[in-house]
Subunit: 357 residues, 2 copies
DNA sequence: CTGAAAGCGCTTACAG
DNA sequence: CTGAAAGCGCTTACAG
């Protein structure tokens, strides 16, 4: 414990300096490309660094620079359902994280990742601890309440990936409203379906609330009737979607002509259950999703949905966080455009066939 | 740039101390549960911490403690194939990472994650930089050459997840040999198939080399003939597996009675191509996988394979790294048992039906 | 161009 | 029980 390691042990800049016969200031300068060191100085330092396999200590650099070059990313794991077919939401999050990472690498940042289980308790504490190890935080959907976010945001720069900005936090999201609008109009106007239902996502999800509200607004604007109520409550999972259809049918209720789903995963469950019950999609009921995850195009029939630019979402989240960290400011409310993807589950025939991106 | 933030700015332990009317030493002690502070002292400190929303700076703690409480995790991304159905390997890695994270959280560690694209160049440099920000590194399969690993390992504790330990690095892996042995014996002895083929994984993968060698050894021991050669080179992807079958058939070669695949993903491709060519599995050709990823049980027919305890693999990798970091030593070569999973693609009928885990 | 020295925000013997 | 002070490994004005 108290015994200092002799031989190797963590190398420091002092070891490099003495081996190169220069001061630690010179070592630091050549390592960071500061100033204009003489060629010979540079070479001696470089050689010593190489011979010793020296890597500067990140904590010391961070303390001195006031910059850790680390951003924390927090999200919820699917918990026990990991192996039960719920891997899609998992993928969804991972694609976003990949985008964050791409953005981060451009600036020499790394990602400190912390996932939270669905029934972990001390979430706020865990996130707080993470905050101490990072220059800023990116929070996926449904991590913290609005006040939790606000509190966190005045200790460290925070970007949320759903919902809306607080006075102190930044938000980046996709244009849910436009996506829902495109869906509703296509269904109600292009196809002329007069009756629509919306299988919602988790009730504590800001994205879901936005989509749900947009659904009501747009349906009214398009003159379509809507089915609503607690029976339509899903939870972003396929099981949740299947469940809604099953309960509706079991209760003897008539299905609307078209069902919009909070996400693709939900649509998968809805379509599965409809098939079980002998309902044809889209002939009897049209179904649409949201996200455009990879399987969407392989469903039967191929799913009409709205594509979110997930990787781009992540990259932009990093970029705006980086701006806030390094310069302050930064757009507090970025909304990314979505793309309406027409395939066949809405009732269209040809569109999906040779569809390019 | 040079302008110090007035109002809030990063809070320090000094701010807490002065607000609580105690010394910074006392603040530090109550925050870390060291010593036996008086109740009143503790309360004043806690209140100040709460009122200020103070979180200690991780870099400063790390520097002072000589411990960052961060482990770096490095892996390769599927690159451009992400959306083309290759998500399985992705999932494979992620389940392992999840295991690492579970282990890490038990000790208050976080994961610093860095993925490397398939044609990124400066891999060693990237990993080196990561090393400076972490207390230790966990490397997935195929990240670095043996000498690269050795070099890295004498600057920071390193655990590899495939291959074998170097003098300085630790390795954790599954028992590939036993898995292959179970497969070969089942096929050659239980089913009596006299001719076997092995569709390999990427040639630079230690796991693949081990499996390939075990295949040859066990087939010889079981008295089965084997088909080998460059035509059997796969790459862990479904496309790779399909390709091997297609080339073999196009070249007019006779398929062996049973085909072992380097992983489940490969088996997926092999079975797909066999179906295309009108060959029945397992009647004409038996097929087996390796890994037991989620889809394996849903394939047609359900895939006989070998289950790797992926999440456990990750958890143990962390644990052994943690031991090395905190106390030195630690078992340098951990081999986890695998489980032989009999389903139907090998020619068995009943086994898979009601199979429990 | 280069070195001596201060400072980043913590923790922890060491004295009281 | 508590405070003053040294030290962790860097970076960067500040003098030469």
């Amino acid at each position: 414990m108290a015994e200092p390691k002799k031989a190797k042990g963590p190398l420091t800049i002092y070891d490099v300096a003495s081996r190169a016969g220069v001061s630690i200031a010179s070592v630091s300068r050549v390592l960071n490309g500061q100033g204009t060191p003489r060629a010979e100085t540079r070479e001696r330092v470089m050689r010593a660094v190489r011979e010793l396999s020296f890597v500067p200590d990140g904590a010391a650099r961070a303390l001195s620079n006031g910059l850790k070059e680390v951003v924390g990313v927090v999200f919820r794991r699917g918990g026990e359902t990991l192996f039960e077919g719920e891997d899609e939401s998992f993928l969804f999050i991972d694609v976003i994280n990949r985008g964050i990472e791409v953005g981060a690498q451009r600036h020499g940042f790394d990602l400190l990742i912390s996932s939270v289980g669905f029934n972990d308790d001390n979430v706020a504490a865990r996130i707080g601890a993470l905050a101490g190890k990072a220059d800023g935080l990116i929070l996926h959907d449904r991590m913290l309440s609005a006040v939790g976010i606000a509190r966190l945001a005045d200790m460290v720069p925070v970007v949320t990936l759903a919902g809306s900005p607080t006075p102190a936090s930044i938000n980046v999201r996709c244009d849910n409203e436009s996506g829902i609008r495109a869906l509703v109009r296509h269904l109600a106007i292009d196809h002329g379906y007069k009756n629509l239902g919306y299988v919602s996502g988790r009730s504590d999800s800001p994205d879901n609330r936005t989509r749900s509200r947009a659904f009501e607004t747009e349906a009214a604007a398009a003159g379509a009737d809507i089915d609503t109520g607690p029976a339509w409550q899903g939870n972003y999972s396929a099981a949740g979607g299947a469940n809604v259809v099953a309960s509706l049918l079991d209760a003897g209720r008539k299905l609307p002509r078209a069902i919009l789903c909070a996400n693709d995963q939900t649509a998968l469950g809805v379509m599965h259950e409809l098939a079980q019950r002998g309902r044809q999609v889209p002939r009897d009921v049209a179904v649409t999703g949201f996200d455009d995850v990879p399987v969407a195009r392989h469903m039967h029939p191929p799913l009409t949905t709205v594509r979110q630019p997930m990787q781009e979402l992540g990259a932009i989240a990093f970029e705006v966080l980086y701006t806030r960290i390094s310069a302050g400011g930064g757009n507090p409310d970025t909304v990314l455009p979505v793309e309406f993807i027409v395939r066949e589950s809405c009732g269209c025939r040809s569109a999906g066939a040779k569809e390019k991106t």
